[in-house]
């Protein structure tokens, strides 16, 4: 959550982007992120990101739903207020399968979407910097984070050499803040050393 300096380059072709990601990482630059208009399969591995555990979370939410349903219905219909429906057993598990199934799905889906929003820090009125608005259109935007050792001019040249175009140095807020996209809002003051 701070304003940082990045060397930013644009790519227009996946065939150039993939080798570039490899080269940038091999050269030891700190790859901040690649912003793309659509999911590019294999880019996450190429960038060395670990696989997401969202599935596991979904599974846990799912079984929470299952046990909530079975537990609650069992308690309500066998302990709290057993009702005799035509002499059928109070513990009528087969008849509870539909509700149990629906709650499993409901818990898993709602839980996963909320977790997804939390992990990606997505919510209404959240505003973020993403370098180039065209990265939601047709451009793959690669951002290299400038650390103390990074020589910006060299990094710019390197990025150009691997196929990036319109390479610039930008200062961007890395986190999010509350704001609307029709206003120029900033959570922090931009650093003024530029």
């Amino acid at each position: 959550m701070s304003v940082q300096k990045f060397v930013v380059g644009n790519f227009y072709d996946e065939a150039v982007l993939f080798p570039a990601v490899k080269k940038v990482r091999r050269a030891g630059y700190k790859l901040h992120d690649v912003f793309t208009p659509f999911p590019i399969h294999g880019l996450d591995q190429a960038m060395g990101l670990r696989d997401t555990s969202l599935h596991t979370a979904g599974f846990i939410y799912g079984i929470t739903g299952t046990s909530t349903a079975v537990g609650f219905i069992t308690w309500a219909l066998t302990l709290d207020w057993p009702i005799n429906f035509g002499g059928k057993p109070f513990f009528a598990l087969p008849a509870w399968i539909p509700v149990t199934f629906e709650l499993t799905v409901l818990f898993a889906a709602v839980g996963m979407v909320l977790t997804f929003c939390y992990l990606c820090q997505l919510a209404p009125f959240v505003k973020k910097d993403h370098f180039n608005p065209r990265s939601t259109d047709d451009t793959f935007v690669m951002a290299i984070e400038c650390t103390e050792e990074t020589n910006e001019t060299e990094a710019k040249k390197f990025l150009e050499s691997v196929g990036a175009t319109e390479v610039t140095v930008m200062e961007k807020e890395t986190g999010w803040w509350l704001g609307r996209y029709d206003h120029d809002t900033m959570r922090f003051q931009k650093s003024t050393n530029a």
Partner: protein, 484 residues
């Protein structure tokens, strides 16, 4: 190239014309960013008028009770539940297209899934109205929820299919909405970043949740879509299964059959696809999206229609055979006298159903017919008329003749308020659809871009070198692709 999966040139392109990523964005965003046409305004205002008439009809029903409808002692579920089942059925195609076809890796779904999912959500909204207002004392509607109450607490009956319905429909609506909206977020971000006007910057800014397109976010987004698809697949089957249980678990002749769950699910997909066709044949023309919703898409969906229509036909015949073969006199009477007999009070509805659902879709065995827009549109309407009559046949012809001939009730005709309520849901549905087609991208932009270099016409030639390569050479070059 890891991002480029091989796709045979023999397959029809899914995107026509000469497209690059930017052109895709331009084409799909154009209807959102331009002023609505006169046709849009006319359609929208007609829908709103219908909706208002529906509101009036419901207000009459709430004020004076369900007596405003012509339901009677034997026909307790006339138009109202017919319409409920009809709308729920229509609401099945969207999830089928987006979930089941995603799992089956059917590339063509990308052109139609967004609009179909939207249609699903609106159809389920319409469906939900019917059981709710049918309760009569609608202010007590929350009694269907298991909440700690002062009546004991007396819990709801978890053994009842009607309660299963409450859970099934509400879960289905919630999950469909989440699935649809999570898919929309990246596309809304595209609109946000293109927005010029203050109002649209704000609207799409809020609606896109601050999406940036970060690779990590895409990775999670993909995982989310896949799991939601996996969850929705059994969900969509369960919903209409449970709706069919409303009938099948009773002992009413004509309802008491075990074939209902698969028969209802096939019928739901059938009518849902027909509604998708109705909407998309018009949408693609009006929004000039013919290059994205191609004749190929229409063709494939017509194949689904002829398949599911035939499944439904077999179900009708099986049901009929079993009614005779079971040797249960009441069951056979319901079929022979109430349905097959054209001279019986509702015999005509059975034959409309047979004609529209079983016979007429057979025209789609012919490729020329499948690719004819006029035929497709006409058939899609016919199928939905037939599917409405299917539910009418199931409900009314099964219950208008009771076990007790003295309580037989023929000639049930709906009142203006019953019809008005039905028309009102059309108003609701189309009002929502018109707003959706104006303010949201009707095609999933990111998903089209994802398949563009594989399935678009102008990229098909890129596959030539791959196709000319020997298998060994291809394997040697590409086998390690996924392990960067």
């Amino acid at each position: 190239m890891a991002s480029l999966r091989y796709e045979s040139q023999v397959r029809q392109p899914l995107v026509e014309g000469t497209k690059d990523y930017h052109q895709v964005t331009e084409d799909i965003c154009r209807p959102v960013e331009s002023k609505p046409s006169r046709l849009w305004w006319i359609g929208f205002l007609v829908s709103v008028a219908l909706l208002l008439f529906g509101v009036l009809s419901v207000a009459m029903e709430v004020t004076y009770g369900t007596g405003q409808w012509n339901l009677n002692r034997t026909i307790g579920w006339g138009w109202d539940i017919t319409n409920f089942v009809w709308w729920v059925g229509i609401g099945h195609a969207g999830t089928l297209i987006s979930a089941i076809l995603l799992l089956f890796r059917q590339g063509w779904r990308t052109g139609v899934n967004r609009a179909a999912e939207a249609m699903t959500i609106f159809a389920v909204m319409c469906a939900g109205q019917f059981p709710i207002w049918h309760m009569g004392r609608v202010w007590n509607a929350f009694f269907v929820l298991p909440y700690p109450n002062t009546r004991g607490p007396l819990w709801v009956n978890f053994n009842s299919p009607l309660l299963w319905d409450v859970f099934a429909i509400s879960t289905y609506f919630t999950v469909s909405l989440l699935f649809w909206y999570s898919g929309l977020i990246p596309d809304l971000a595209t609109l946000r970043d293109r927005a010029k006007k203050k109002w649209s910057k704000m609207f799409y800014g809020v609606a896109s949740f601050g999406w940036t397109g970060s690779t990590k976010h895409w990775q999670r987004h993909e995982a989310l879509s896949l799991v939601l698809a996996g969850l929705s697949t059994p969900l969509v089957l369960s919903v209409h299964t449970i709706v069919s249980f409303d009938f099948a678990t009773s002992i009413v002749p004509g309802w008491h059959t075990t074939i209902f769950p698969p028969y209802f699910v096939a019928g739901a997909i059938f009518s849902g696809f027909a509604m998708v066709q109705t909407l998309l044949v018009v949408t693609r023309k009006v929004l000039s999206l013919e290059e994205y919703i191609t004749l190929e898409h229409i063709d494939v969906m017509n194949k689904v229609i002829v398949l599911t229509g035939s499944i439904v036909g077999i179900a009708y015949l099986t049901e009929l055979f079993m009614a005779w073969y079971s040797a249960v006199p009441y069951e056979w009477y319901a079929f022979k006298e109430n349905r097959l007999n054209l001279n019986s009070p509702y015999g005509w509805s059975y034959w409309i159903m047979m004609g529209c659902n079983v016979l007429s879709p057979q025209i789609f065995w012919f490729r020329k017919m499948r690719r004819n827009l006029f035929v497709t549109f006409f058939m899609s309407i016919l199928v939905n008329i037939g599917m409405w009559f299917e539910r009418f046949v199931i409900i009314v012809t099964s219950i208008y003749r009771d076990y007790l001939p003295s309580s037989w009730s023929t000639y049930y005709t709906p009142t203006i308020w019953e019809v008005g309520f039905y028309l009102g849901t059309f108003g609701l549905f189309f009002t929502c659809y018109f707003l959706f087609s104006k303010y949201f991208p009707v095609i999933a932009i990111a998903e089209i871009k994802h398949i563009l270099k594989k399935n678009a016409k102008n990229y098909k030639a890129d596959m030539t070198p791959v196709e000319n390569e020997s298998l060994d050479a291809y394997a040697a070059k590409h086998v390690h692709d996924d392990h960067h």
